[in-house]
C-alpha cells in the first residue's frame, strides 16, 4: 500500500492542477501591459455566485460574463480604477476582495489589528501575573506557620 502513495499523490496533484486550468478560458492581448492588467483585475474581483472565489478561479456563468466585460473594457483602453468603478456601481463593494477603507468597512480593516493587540495584551498580562508571587498577609502567614509547626 505504501508504495502506491507517491503515485497516488502525483495523480491527485495532476488532476487538481488540470481542474484549476480547465475552468477558465484563455484570453490573449497584443499588449503585455493589458494582459497583466487583465490578470490582476480578475484576481482582485470577487465572484458573487461562488463567494469565496475570485473571477479568475470561478467557473460560474456570471464570472465568465464579468471576465468578458473586463476583457472588453481593457481592450477599449479602460484602466483599473474604471473597471473597479464599473463593477462596484453594479455590485457594490462586495465585488472587491480589497474593499476601500470607509465607515462601513472600517471593522474589516482594523478588526484584525484590534484583535491582535488585545491578544498580545492578554498574553503579557497573564505572563506577568505568573511571574510574581503574591505576598500573604501577615495574619495568614502566622496562621500557616502555626499549622506547619503543629
Amino acid at each position: 500500500m505504501r508504495t502506491y502513495m507517491p503515485a497516488l499523490a502525483l495523480v491527485l496533484f495532476l488532476v487538481a492542477s488540470f481542474d484549476a486550468h480547465a475552468v477558465i478560458e484563455v484570453r490573449n492581448f497584443d499588449d503585455p501591459a493589458k494582459q497583466e492588467l487583465y490578470e490582476e483585475i480578475i484576481n482582485e474581483l470577487r465572484c458573487l455566485v461562488c463567494q469565496n472565489q475570485n473571477l479568475a478561479a470561478s467557473n460560474a456563468a456570471l464570472a465568465k460574463d464579468l471576465r468578458r466585460q473586463a476583457y472588453e473594457m481593457i481592450q477599449e483602453g479602460a484602466d483599473k480604477s474604471q473597471i473597479r468603478d464599473y463593477m462596484t456601481a453594479r455590485y457594490g463593494d462586495f465585488v472587491l476582495y480589497r474593499p476601500p477603507v470607509k465607515a462601513t468597512t472600517l471593522a474589516l480593516w482594523i478588526g484584525p489589528i484590534v484583535l491582535l493587540v488585545v491578544g498580545i495584551a492578554i498574553v503579557v498580562l497573564v505572563a506577568r501575573r505568573r511571574g510574581t508571587v503574591e505576598e500573604l498577609p501577615e495574619e495568614e502567614r502566622q496562621q500557616a506557620r502555626k499549622l506547619l509547626e503543629d
Binding site: 458573487l48 455566485v49 463567494q51 456563468a61 460574463d65 453594479r90
Partner: protein, 187 residues
C-alpha cells in the same frame, strides 16, 4: 474585585460573542446589498420574447410603478416562484416585466406556454449584459421601480407567498399611492 472580574470578563465575552454570532446566523451571505437601490433603473433596449421584431426599454414604463423579474427556463427556483408571480399578476396592481436572462428563446417560450405567463411582456437578455447593468447575480431577482424610473426595492432569490403578501405587495401599494398623489398634484 478580582474574583468578580474573573467571572464577568469571560461571561461578558461569551455574551458578546453569542449575540454577534447569533446575528450572523440570521443573515444570508448570498444577499449582497445592491448599490442600485434608489438609483435610476439602468437603461436597456431588448427584443421582446413574444415578438423579437419589437423591443422594450425601461423608459417605456415612465409614469408607472412596475416590477422587473429576472427569470430563466434553466432556473430551478424560478419554477416555484412562477406560481407566486401568477398570484401577483392576478392582483392586477402593476405590470410585471420579465427579463429572460441567458436563456434560449425557444426554451423560454415553451416554459411560458406550459406554466402560464404572468408577464405583461418578457425581453430577451441572451448574453446577460442587461443583467450585469442591473447587478443581477442570482436568478431569480425581482425589482420594484417607481413612476420616476427609480429602483426602490430588490428581492434576491425566489419570491415566496409570505414575501409577496408581507413585503412586495405593501411596497407596491405605497408606491402606487405615491404615484397617484403626485399625478393629482400635477394636474
Amino acid at each position: 474585585m478580582k474574583g468578580k472580574l474573573k467571572f464577568w470578563l469571560p461571561a461578558g465575552i461569551f455574551v458578546v460573542l453569542t449575540v454577534v454570532l447569533g446575528i450572523g446566523l440570521t443573515l444570508d451571505p448570498r444577499e449582497v446589498p445592491s448599490p442600485l437601490i434608489d438609483e435610476p433603473a439602468p437603461p436597456f433596449q431588448l427584443s421582446r420574447l413574444s415578438d423579437p421584431a419589437t423591443s422594450f426599454a425601461p423608459a417605456d414604463m415612465r409614469g408607472k410603478v412596475w416590477v422587473l423579474n429576472v427569470w430563466a427556463s434553466w432556473c430551478v427556483s424560478c419554477r416555484a416562484e412562477h406560481e407566486v408571480l401568477k398570484v401577483l399578476a392576478a392582483e392586477k396592481l402593476v405590470p410585471i416585466v420579465g427579463l429572460n436572462y441567458k436563456d434560449r428563446p425557444q426554451d423560454a417560450r415553451q416554459w411560458l406556454d406550459r406554466l402560464g405567463d404572468p408577464y405583461e411582456l418578457s425581453v430577451m437578455d441572451n448574453d446577460g449584459r442587461a443583467g450585469i447593468d442591473w447587478g443581477v447575480y442570482g436568478v431569480p431577482e425581482t425589482f420594484i421601480i417607481d413612476q420616476q424610473g427609480t429602483i426602490r426595492y430588490k428581492h434576491i432569490g425566489p419570491v415566496d407567498l409570505p414575501a409577496l403578501t408581507q413585503v412586495l405587495i405593501p411596497k407596491i401599494k405605497t408606491l402606487t399611492q405615491e404615484a397617484s398623489r403626485s399625478s393629482v398634484r400635477r394636474s
